[in-house]
């Protein structure tokens, strides 16, 4: 049964909410503000009752795939389990119901949480300072590149170019462009890594930054990373780390130690904050000392010293206590790039990330990446006989296959993706990275069990089999979803993005 649009459920006079009456003498509105400021007709919003809204949204939710209901091996997205304690902590009134302009005396808990999160992110990445302001990965990239521009500008020349590999996520070149840079693409070699020679060829003293992610979007580790860093630094360029793939590295290696000068993290990936059907996330940016003066305002400052003790001995398991210093916001940062958004950051998201990090601790965070890598290699080992595996080495936390062979038999990566839905699995990322034809990018994350992976592997094998037998049928997949394949061409051509009631 299809769920109607909320507008079709509307009936004059219905309502879901009533409001308190105004309990003082009520003048006509036009005595308060001039008539021409006022709206002439009420906005044509639906008129429905609470039960209508609850049923509408509940039913719609049921036709979604989600981590809470399905394995979601969407590559580059790290769709790990979102622990429920995180939501509980973030929605405590002490966090969810404080105003950003409240006096610091009434928000020491929030400031301490921010401070603690900055410190743990520094520990994880090997960077010197973090800003929690950016709202997502792409926003972090833009922040990072504006920091880099400010850094170079302070040194006399903002420089003109940013190098990105051909496998980079679209946000990288796009962010570089918005920060005013010309994008230079460097190709990958046949191991999926940056081609060192070609890199050398494009590196010059107009290069402001080199943007990499490691492991790359090919799912493989950049083995020449130290060399790349040395070369870039020698040319006066800074190294930017796209943290989307950090789930491979926690406790294993740190971008800061590799030579990266600026990193952004996607807390909605590595740190388990739920993706909300598209957001909100958060994209904290970490920098090395030299870039700290440029970070967005405000910064946390310690007003009254007292050790911020986040240490808890494992040995005697003594109670964890946070001895927080008195903190305040500091706006007086003359070299700052300014602000990337209102206020301080996505508190509710950041609190979830902090909760997640504190839950795992040192050992636990290390295990996250280990298991993520083993899970991915397990899938690789079990599928590489049927799906083309473009890179020979072990993968990191995700594996990129090419459906080249299947394409030859008549089914595309898209067909495979759609067919997987019928087996109760979300599809992998497809057609990204663009360097791999018919890419199927699979990221299992550490929160999936071996049994789930085995069922997924079986489904992938069965699909390969189906293609060998009759590739045609897959063109009509999926078969068991609430709708069959959606006509995207029509959607773009006969644009309907704002419901207008057709007259009867």
């Amino acid at each position: 049964m299809r769920e109607s649009l909320i507008f079709d459920l509307s009936s004059p006079g219905r309502r879901a909410c009533s409001l308190p009456a105004f309990d003082a003498p009520a003048k006509p509105l036009t005595e308060l503000v001039p008539q021409d400021c006022l709206r002439q007709h009420d906005a044509d919003l639906p008129e429905v009752s609470e039960i209508d809204v609850v049923r509408h949204v509940t039913r719609l939710s049921q036709i979604n795939f989600s981590v809470d209901t399905h394995f979601y091996p969407l590559g580059s997205c790290t769709m790990k389990y979102n622990p429920k304690i995180n939501d509980r902590i973030a929605s405590l009134p002490g966090f969810a119901n404080i105003h950003p302009y409240q006096p610091a005396s009434t928000t020491q808990g929030a400031l301490a949480a921010f401070e603690l999160l900055e410190q743990t992110l520094c520990a994880i990445t090997g960077m010197d300072a973090f800003t929690l302001q950016p709202a997502a990965g792409a926003h972090g990239e833009l922040t990072g590149l504006l920091l880099i521009r400010a850094y170079h500008t302070a040194r006399g020349n903002p420089r003109r170019k940013v190098i990105v590999p051909d496998s980079a996520h679209g946000t990288n070149p796009s962010s570089a462009h918005l920060a005013g840079y010309h994008v230079v693409t460097v190709p990958s070699n046949n191991r999926g890594e940056v081609d060192l020679e070609k890199f050398r060829a494009v590196l010059d003293d107009e290069v402001a930054a080199v943007m990499l992610t490691n492991p790359s979007t090919h799912g493989v580790f950049e083995t020449n990373i130290l060399e790349i860093a040395a070369m870039a630094h020698k040319a006066g360029a800074l190294l930017y780390y796209d943290g989307a793939n950090l789930n491979a590295l926690v406790g294993l290696a740190r971008p800061g130690d590799m030579g990266f000068d600026v990193v952004h993290l996607n807390v909605h990936k590595t740190f388990s904050t739920p993706h909300g059907g598209g957001g909100p996330g958060a994209g904290p940016v970490g920098v090395k000392k030299a870039l700290e003066p440029f970070l967005p305002v405000p910064r946390l400052k310690i007003v009254e010293r007292e050790a911020l003790s986040i240490e808890r001995k494992n040995a005697d398991a003594s109670r964890f206590t946070l001895h927080a210093p008195r903190l305040a916001w500091d706006y007086d940062r003359p070299q700052t790039i300014g602000k990337m958004r209102s206020f301080y950051g996505s508190t509710g998201v950041l609190i979830r990330a902090l909760t997640y990090i504190l839950a795992h601790g040192d050992e636990g965070m290390r295990r996250v990446s280990e298991v993520a890598i083993i899970n991915a290699n397990y899938i690789k080992a079990k599928l590489k006989d049927l799906y083309d595996d473009p890179f020979p080495q072990a993968c990191m936390h995700e594996i990129v296959f090419s459906a080249r062979l299947q394409k030859k038999q008549g089914s595309s990566a898209r067909d495979i993706a759609k067919r997987l839905l019928d087996f109760g699995f979300h599809a992998p990322t497809i057609y990204f990275p663009m360097t791999v034809p018919e890419a199927l990018m699979i990221e299992p994350t550490e929160t999936e069990s071996r049994e789930t992976l085995d069922r997924f592997i079986a489904a992938m094998r069965q699909i390969a089999e189906e293609i060998t037998r009759n590739a045609e049928t897959l063109h009509n997949a999926p078969f068991t979803m609430p709708v069959t394949r959606v006509d995207e061409v029509k959607a773009a051509r006969e644009l309907d993005v704002n419901f207008v009631k057709r007259d009867a």
């Binding site: 902590i89 119901n97 993706h275």
Partner: protein
Amino acid sequence: MDYIPNTDADLSAMLREIGVAGFDELVAAVPASLRKFKMELPSAMSEPELQRELGAMAARNQPLDALTSFLGAGAYEHFIPSAIDHLVSRGELYTAYTPYQAEASQGTLQLLYEYQSLICRLTGMDISNASLYDGGSAVGESAYLALNAHSKRSRIVVSGALHPEYRQVLKTYTAGMGTEIVELPVRDGVTDLDALAAAVNENTAAVLLQSPNFFGCIEPMQRAGELIKPKGAWFVAVVNPLSLGTLRPPGEYGADFAVGEGQPLGIPVSYGGPYLGFLTSTRQLVHKISGRIVGRSVDTEGREAFCLTLQAREQHIRREKAASNICSNQSLMALRAAIFLMLLGKRGMREMAELNLRRSHQAAEAISRVPGFALKFPRAPFFNEFVVTCPAPAQTICDRLERDGILAGLPLGRFCAGMERDLLVCVTETKSTADIERLAEALGRAASGEVQP
């Protein structure tokens, strides 16, 4: 405490199947020198410990429900219907990714389509995207779009009454673009339109005005639009969506883009985020706006079905040529706003906006009667906040009232030089007559305490 199902036994078995001797073999590509570090995170905590310790951290904050707050200035304390939390906390909604696979995401897609439609109806604009990060970044984003849609122009004219944080974002965002930002003076609480007329030229890509503006005043948007249009610049209206329950919507005064902060629509103040940036435009600009857009289409059997559309605008296809780099957005917050608009509905939105209008005027009157206090901009119409000039530094007054559990408002000295005695007071429908009386009395006491030198 971790969330990893596979045990050591599982992992050993898997490593065997992979055909390696151990985990280290899988990560042999990582140089040994990189692996020699200590992370030094605190040791793990179990869930009971997290509940206790982070609960204690939260308890070090004083939530608004334990205070009486008149703070606004871009983040507003409003009624949030209980059904919103109930619905958005459904796992199927909040643990889904961006709906790339339409067939497995019809729930999210239809709701975002409804969000777009609801926002269009509220703003009177033709097109809405499926969300941006927040109000501040939406202003920055609108500059990118304006500059991109007017690729030959490089001046942006902005009202000095635009929220100072938004103005700062605008400057930060455009730092690499060679943009000339011209700031208009404010007179009597609203943007100086003569200055506007003078500043807008053939090189002006956009003019940004906020209404109600940072001081709470309603700007003469109609007249501003009439001055902007002939110059061919884009008119960007920054609006409080809740105010549109009773105020004239940007679609009626000729805005090309209407953007703003969606937090008043059912989103908790939450110390500044996550919030909701909204972005709307005229039909003409549909291919110029950024962010996800959901379209209504059909499936192969002709049934109504939804999918992401106009993706060719976006970074993952256009890469460095995209007008914006946005990828993840604020879907779940858009969903909150959509549910809010469904629940409040036609009548509720009007009533709630009117209540804000009435309460703030009630408070303005009450405060005006307190000796020593006066409205700063008595002639400008306002919605739910207004500026009061105090008989002492506003910060001093606020500090006094804080002791009584009242947050009197935002002292403006911090943002506007020369306004040290000015206080921005916000009064939403959450305040009662009794609250307003309490505020007025407390201000009176604080001031009389101040009169003695």
